[in-house]
């Protein structure tokens, strides 16, 4: 067996491996997690990824879509993708049932800088389905929990029924992640926080900003205000990371569809240091 570096495709990046839907978990309205098995056992053995990376899911006759990996990087042989119905590929995927097969290329892209967070506090700020690309980072932080200081998850959703993976929060909390949720619009039964997620960052104590890292994923406006809040709390710009989303087609930086200023999001991202792209975030048309 050839040696494969974690987080890079095991074979030609253009070649798709066949995967099978082993299970489907309905998460929230219009969003489901697909649990995938590799048809080829050797492909399963050689596949590894880093938190924050994505795969290209290929449905023959329909097209390809870049979807973040949302499972635990330590789990081999099975792979989770949490998908919202948003286009042709995801619509067709939503029609597929357990046992259906399709193609997968990957993993691609950069990852959350977990090793750069060592011994410091980590704040994960996310909203809506943005929790999906951060979930592998949460798993890795939990797997290596003693290597970090305080780990805090600040998670916002449109309404209480839009909170992803809510069945896991108690487990995360019990194992050392301080989970804080908020919703933009409360239902009468909601007893939790109401307001945008950046408010949670504004008010949380940051004991040692110089050694605190912020990992953020969500709509760009949310990430921009999160970074603004983090900078206002004294967290260095070099310690703020965001995950970008663009129209990724080739996934290896050749086609240019995902170009964002000087950055190719598929190759240089999706996870990027905030200060390296901040000047482009508020440019209309980018």
């Amino acid at each position: 067996m050839s040696t494969v570096t974690a987080g890079t495709p095991a074979t030609d990046p253009w070649l798709a491996q066949t995967v099978r839907i082993a299970g489907i978990t309905d998460e929230i309205e219009g969003v489901a997690t697909y649990h995938l098995d590799f048809a080829d056992a050797s492909a399963a053995g050689s596949f590894s990824f880093r938190p924050g990376q994505f795969n290209m899911l290929y449905l023959p006759g329909v097209g390809e879509a870049a979807i973040s990996i949302s499972s635990d990087p330590l789990l081999h042989g099975t792979l989770d993708h949490t998908v919202r119905i948003a286009g042709q590929v995801t619509t067709e995927l939503a029609r597929a049932g357990v046992g259906a097969t399709f193609g997968l290329r990957g993993p691609f892209g950069s990852s959350w800088p977990i090793d750069e967070c060592l011994e410091g506090d980590v704040i994960l700020v996310t909203g809506g389905i943005g929790l999906a690309p951060l979930r592998p980072a949460i798993y890795e932080l939990l797997n290596r929990r003693t290597e970090f200081g305080n780990v805090t998850l600040l998670y916002g959703a449109r309404h209480p029924f839009g909170l992803l993976y809510s069945a896991e929060y108690d487990d995360w909390q019990a194992n050392g992640v301080d989970v804080n949720t908020t919703v933009d619009r409360a239902s009468p039964a909601w007893q939790g926080n109401v307001g945008v997620v950046t408010q949670l960052l504004d008010r949380m104590p940051v004991a040692d900003p110089e050694r605190t890292s912020v990992l953020c994923c969500g709509p760009e406006v949310m990430m921009w205000y999160t970074a603004r809040s983090a900078l206002g709390r004294g967290i260095p710009k070099e310690r703020i990371w965001i995950s970008l989303e663009r129209n990724m087609n080739c996934a290896i930086g050749l086609c240019g569809h995902c170009q964002f200023g000087p950055t190719f999001v598929c190759k240089d991202g999706p996870v990027v240091r905030y200060d390296r792209v901040s000047q482009y975030l508020r440019v209309e048309g980018f």
Partner: protein, 146 residues
Amino acid sequence: MSLQFTSQLPEVAREALAGIAAERTIAKGQTLCREGESCHELFLVASGHVGLDMLVPGRGQVRVMTLGPGEVLAWSALVGNQGATATGIALEETETIVFPDDALINLCQTNHDVGYPMMRELAKAISRRLVTSRLQLLDLFEQESL
């Protein structure tokens, strides 16, 4: 205790404000201010959380925001007497710092070394509240995809 609101005030202003302020523990479920009624005290949340509710005919009391440590409410006690625009309810036992309106207005008007920084910090707090309200209005999570 370091709160975002007071940490930016100069020492002279903090000391003068401390002279008219009182600490008050608000029990869970107790109302701090009521929509439509005059506010005679400005509250600064030191710990705990306060829900801001607005009455919507046909829907009842709708929670529009939750406030936490470092945030102010019932600012009409300082900026005007038109009455509160929301009802503030303690969602848990909440520690507050309370400023009586008469004493606060008098202090700010007679001592500009207190009044200007106080109004500047209040303006910042109102600005933050406005930004968060705008972000809520943008409904950012309505049509996102990954």
